[in-house]
């Protein structure tokens, strides 16, 4: 497919739209652009679904069930709708999509620069240059590990890994491990490394607690059914805050088991507060653990209330198990406030502190002082520039694979209108 696509397109040229990134979002956009007969190319620094292929740990499986995996004109048709895909299966799923839609992908083509040109943009890659009228940034929100500055104070004797470098416990020496961050990734790594026989300390800040299954159904089913995933960016009270909400503590296993702080405490993981300092080789943890856990418990309680109320209204209540409430997160009376990182008992620190997008190549004045794109639901503050896949970009589900379709339909329509208007603007100028 890729070779065929290469033969069909010149190495570099002029198109209406350049899509940057051949992950699920870029491909979904490609499919919608093709539907509208809009001339475009998809530039991909590696292979299709590159991040899924090369930048995730070995045991990772998706947090959304297979039945939820859908893209424009494509959905899961396998035998395990309630299962969760491994990374290999995700790569296959997205690769098949690229083949089916015949996406014009240029793989192994890294975008070095995007800048404003007459009537559009100038895209420089390591395989030639492209002229285009519009650009869609679909390179994802998870490019660079967001490691806090205090990592510079780590004792040199310690090995520091990000979740981008971590593959499996076999990479680590036998000593203890400090995992920083308690979203889905931090909990999964803490669990896996603890099971490998190593002592694990997990530093916990603000987090979102969710059971895998509620009233007999996957929690994602409820979030979808209740309409929470469809909430729009222009309808929530505080979109800045909503976009900062961390990913829920979930894991995809055949048993559909819940992984939360109580599970880990019970297993013997040492739960401590947010990592807030490193002084004299000692990690310092915040005394706010109790409140962070209380907030997560309260938030979970409100979510379950919302779900129960919806189940009651919709008549679903009769078909599913009775409402349940989960035990409060157990916090020790005096959680440990410091950990000696230079005693030799800790060998590795893993930063599970999230990612930020990489826009070093974007030479367009569209970034705010935090280095993030200024955009209105994916319509960037620059004519003809669009972005996909950011957290709560247009809807709460925007960063999920199944969230791409609605966003891409909206934005491809916007893009098509932009191209049409640009043509009439030019025609008017020529006529005038």
């Amino acid at each position: 497919m890729i070779r065929g696509a290469r033969r069909g397109y010149p190495l570099a040229g002029t198109v209406d739209v350049v899509v940057i990134g051949a992950g699920h979002a870029g491909l979904a956009m490609s499919r919608c652009l093709s539907e509208g007969s809009i001339d475009h190319v998809v530039l991909e620094r590696g292979g299709i679904a590159n991040s899924w292929r090369h930048e995730r740990w070995d045991s990772l499986v998706r947090l959304t069930a297979n039945w939820q995996s859908r893209l424009p004109g494509y959905c899961y048709t396998g035998l395990e709708p309630d299962g969760y895909m491994t990374m290999l299966e995700v790569v296959e799923f997205i690769g098949r999509y690229a083949r089916i839609i015949g996406a014009p992908v240029r793989t192994e083509t890294t975008v070095m620069s995007v800048s404003v040109a007459d009537d559009g943009y100038h895209v420089v890659t390591d395989h030639g240059q492209w002229r285009c009228r519009a650009v869609v940034i679909a390179s994802g929100a998870h490019n660079i590990p967001a490691v806090p500055p205090l990592c510079a104070a780590l004792p040199r004797s310690l090995r520091a890994l990000t979740t981008k470098d971590y593959r499996n416990p076999g990479q680590l020496d036998d000593r203890g491990v400090l995992v920083v961050g308690a979203s889905a990734t931090g909990l999964q790594l803490a669990d896996e490394i603890h099971r490998s026989g190593r002592q694990v300390t997990l530093a916990v800040g603000e987090h979102i607690r969710m059971p895998r299954v509620y009233r007999g159904l996957d929690i994602q089913w409820w979030l979808d059914a209740v309409g929470i995933l469809d909430e729009r960016y222009d309808e929530v009270d505080d979109i800045v805050r909503a976009r900062r909400v961390p990913s829920p503590q979930l894991i995809g296993t055949p048993q559909r088991s819940t992984l939360d702080l109580n599970t880990l405490t019970e297993a013997g993981v040492n739960i401590v507060g947010r990592l807030v300092g490193i002084n004299d080789g000692k990690a310092q943890f915040s005394g706010s653990l109790r409140n962070h856990c209380a907030m997560a418990d309260l938030k979970l309680g409100r979510l379950l209330e919302t779900i129960d109320a919806w189940a009651q209204r919709s008549g679903k209540s009769g078909e599913v198990a009775a409402p349940e409430r989960f035990a409060a997160t157990r916090v020790e009376d005096a959680p440990c406030l410091s950990l000696d990182l230079s005693s030799g008992r800790i060998g590795t620190v893993i930063w599970a502190t999230g990612f930020r997008p990489d826009y070093q190549w974007l030479h367009v004045p569209a970034l705010d002082r935090k280095g993030l794109l200024r955009h209105d639901g994916g319509i960037v503050d620059m004519p003809g520039l669009y972005v996909l896949g950011l957290n709560f970009m247009r809807r709460r589900k925007s960063s999920f694979m199944h969230g791409a379709e609605d966003d891409v339909r909206d934005l491809s329509a916007q893009l098509a209108a932009y191209l049409r208007n640009a043509v009439s603007r030019r025609a008017m100028r020529a006529a005038g």
Binding site: G277, S288, L298
Partner: protein
């Protein structure tokens, strides 16, 4: 059901606070404040601190009046007990910060408060400050805050108020997280 809109008034000007939040989002420099206090030794462990000026919104600011705080140690420490002990001032700071937060968050969430009382207790082992046992820290070994809140809200909503107040509290942050402290002599 008749719904009567009851105006919630906890005495907090939420509109002004939200306005300030908006303004300071656009002008991050103006958000940089400096808080100050001056402390003079009187005699023994007795000192008097004053607070008046501070810096913020890009300019020097001032309280309406100068506030004074006497600090001392109690008689069981063989002192004159001319004021609260410095560690009690820390508790006062924490409790008043959390209480102010509860009022502000309640106003923002439309919850009418009738009474709010915070009771704070902190443990301390004097073997630390007296240098008896080097494994014992000087400061508190823990702080416990208990809120009694009477308000037009459910138990969960009140718990959420208190949680949000901690999340946004400066003094809670100061006591739960490390801060670099530079002490110099002129």
């Amino acid at each position: 059901m008749n719904v009567t809109a009851i105006k919630v008034d906890n005495g907090v000007n939420v509109e002004a606070l939200l306005g300030a939040r908006q303004a300071l989002t656009e002008a991050p420099e103006a958000a940089r404040f400096k808080w100050r206090a001056t402390c003079s030794w009187i005699n023994g462990t007795h000192s008097r601190s004053t607070v008046q000026g501070f810096f913020g919104l890009g300019a020097e600011q001032s309280h309406k009046t100068e506030f004074r705080f006497d600090a001392d140690h109690p008689e069981v420490f063989a002192a004159a007990d001319n004021g609260a002990t410095p560690v009690e001032y820390v508790l006062v700071g924490l409790a008043s910060c959390l209480t102010a937060g509860v009022a502000a968050v309640a106003q923002n969430r439309g919850i009418q408060l009738r009474s709010v009382k915070a009771t704070v207790e902190a443990g301390m082992d004097l073997q630390g400050i007296l240098g008896i046992d080097s494994d014992v820290r000087n400061g508190f070994d823990g702080i416990k805050v208990v809120f009694d809140i009477d308000a037009d809200a459910s138990k969960e909503d009140i718990a959420a108020l208190v949680a949000q107040s901690q999340k946004r509290s400066a003094v809670f942050d100061v006591v739960t997280n490390p801060t670099n402290v530079a002490v110099e002599v002129r």
